[in-house]
Amino acid sequence: MRLSADDLHCHRGGRDVFAGVSFAVGSGEALIVIGRNGAGKSSLLRGVIGLVRLSQGRLTLEGGDPELTIAEQTHYLGHQDALKPSLSAAENLSFWAGFFDAPSLDIHGALDAVGLASLAGLPAAYLSAGQRRRLSIARLIAVKRPIWLLDEPTSTLDVAAQGRLTGLMQAHLASGGLIMAATHGPIGLAKTQELRLDQASPSLAQDQGDEQEKP
């Protein structure tokens, strides 16, 4: 499976949010989108799944399920957690599992993977921001989708939770999935490509192995 895009443009609110963006990420690989605030990282991710209209450029997915659009094979972890405060953690998760038509309803397993198993019955309103974020991440575990788009996944997570997230991401990559994450710092994954958005025409930096801070 290979998700590639060339010469993507996004024009919104009278200005170019980003222009001339090209990238390609295969299964087992992770692409990190870096840039200052407002560089259009979120818009790029949302553009890939059609939540933001791209004014120009082509997105192709080789190897995915032909009948489904890219969005229907993608998990999107946005800034908001998509949780209903009056529903319990288990109810929220089983709703999303049911809505995304997950074959196996392993709610408890997914909650356990993010360390929230004991809080299954609690209304989401009682959870802390970090716990709500982890509950949102549990959605990615409960429903198997090959592509993960993560928008600042580690925000509001403490060190332990970030470690757990890195483990989950590595497992996803190992199982042949691919990840595209908009983030400020490194997210602890070994093999990553970097896509820097703040230059005029964003270049695709290929750095296998170690992370170096770009000048």
């Binding site: 489904l68 908001q80 709703f95």
Partner: protein, 222 residues
């Protein structure tokens, strides 16, 4: 559990929990109907004549005003993004949300109408006609209201704007609803004709509503 059932169960659960708006429509309906005699006067004969009209207007306002948070709530907490990424067609998802809203707001109105009709001195045939017309009419009100709720999804003060957008669209339903309800009491026209037109209007809105609302949501999202 397939996607549409998941949406229905979720929306019903939220509506009945603390903070949900399940019976708010019925309370509004009761308050509006109780207030009218204070304006018009306690003359039972007059109330009996305009009873169906008051009840229909109150039902119309009650079902519309509860609609503004339908999509806005999902938009604000990020659920709408994910719903758009689901494999279930958006039109059906919107229709199911409409059904969930009708079950928690519209249906209680229909069940409460006969009791509240007593305050306006309606007799048995008038009550029966009222319940029948409301039973058929309220789904149309909800599904037309869906369009307004979808258009007002990103707006902060969606509530009143929703009513202003949608009320003109519901005029046919109101006309034939009240005509059918009155036909059983005083109306020159037999009950059948306005009632069948009301049924036609409802069926049309069951189709037009979701499609228009889904289109509005897609436009709204970019």
């Amino acid at each position: 559990m397939n996607p549409l059932a998941a949406i229905l169960v979720r929306d019903m659960r939220i509506a009945v929990r603390v903070g949900g708006g399940a019976l708010m429509g019925v309370l509004f309906f009761l308050v509006v109907v109780t207030l009218t005699p204070f304006a018009i006067g306690p003359d039972l004969a007059l109330l009996k004549r305009i009873g169906p009209a008051i009840l229909w207007l109150a039902a119309l306002l009650a079902s519309l005003l509860a609609l503004d948070r339908m999509f806005a709530a999902d938009h604000d907490d990020g659920s709408l993004d994910l719903i758009l990424m689901g494999r279930a067609p958006l039109e059906l998802v919107v229709a199911v949300k409409g059904i969930a809203h009708w079950l928690t707001t519209g249906l209680p109105l229909v069940l409460a109408a006969p009791l509240i009709g007593l305050f306006l001195n309606l007799d048995a045939p008038a009550e029966a006609a009222l319940v029948l017309t409301l039973l058929v009419g309220t789904p149309a009100l909800t599904f037309i209201g869906l369009i307004g709720a979808a258009i007002a999804v990103t707006l902060r003060r969606g509530g009143l704007l929703l009513a202003v957008i949608v009320l003109p669209l519901t005029v046919p339903v109101l006309i034939f609803g009240v005509a059918a309800a009155n036909a059983a009491v005083i109306g020159p026209v037999p009950f059948g004709t306005p009632f069948t037109i009301l049924c036609a209007l409802t069926l049309a809105s069951l189709v037009v509503g979701p499609f228009a609302a889904a289109a509005a949501l897609r436009q709204e999202m970019e």
